[in-house]
Subunit: 147 residues, 2 copies
Amino acid sequence: MESQDIKKVGLKVTLPRLRILQLLENSKQRHMSAEDVYKALLDTGKDVGLATVYRVLTQFETAGLVIRHRFEYTLSVFELNEGRHHDHLLCVKCGRIIEFVDEVIEERQRAIAQRYGFKITEHCLYLYGICIKCAETDSQSIGNGSL
Amino acid sequence: MESQDIKKVGLKVTLPRLRILQLLENSKQRHMSAEDVYKALLDTGKDVGLATVYRVLTQFETAGLVIRHRFEYTLSVFELNEGRHHDHLLCVKCGRIIEFVDEVIEERQRAIAQRYGFKITEHCLYLYGICIKCAETDSQSIGNGSL
DNA sequence: ATGTATGCAAAACATTTGCACCTGG
DNA sequence: CCAGGTGCAAATGTTTTGCATACAT
């Protein structure tokens, strides 16, 4: 019962929340954008506001009920192309960016693509986390939060 | 000489292009957003339009002079959280999404994070490419597009 | 009842585009 | 000179926010 899931995470059981969760559970489409959800609800005669869809999905994400993927983007950053591919580690606190290359990962990616018959055109691997510097600074103020 | 690079890729050597390329080469900041570039130029008294910065950076990207990274995003898609982490293969032609998990990659990510002293909070690995179906369809010409 | 949620319209943002003017070769 | 490039302002597309109204507990 979906209403239990909603209650469990501390949210009021409202019609929009119930409908959105049910839709996600019953849709054959596993990945839906906010717009997809919005249209699907309207199509079934369930009136809802797009802003509500965004709010509810974000709350569900915070609550761990859904996962948000970001397959398309806006803010881009540019760097000079110096001819060597690399991936990135990004500090979510201070914005520090570290570049790395790992041949094992590159190799596995090729293997996975082959297994599924994909011809890779590009890939992106971003590891988000907290860098040493920020971890140090953090621990002296906010208690400790090791992990 | 930057003007040579610009000429080499078939673009006219104009003031904005020259300045943007020089900035990217001389900036201590390796990764800059379009806004960063725009502001940096204005700060040094070089007038330029933001639209031009976008156009030039996109041209440079097409020409292979710069690499564009997309660390932040807009269009999000949501899926139910069923508790098991996975990464994604995405077909850029038909939008097909395949989920996969590779323990070797997961392990390497942990190793890399540790090497740099990062505490990973999340990561995203998206492999973009062309799936078998689209590859087949493609090779027999341009006009038929099943699916 | 009352604190939350909702819906709408408007704002926010990064980015793109239309168009008249300017400029490099 | 003239195709191509630029700057501005307006448009775009996604997401967020302010606010008055409606609803769950």
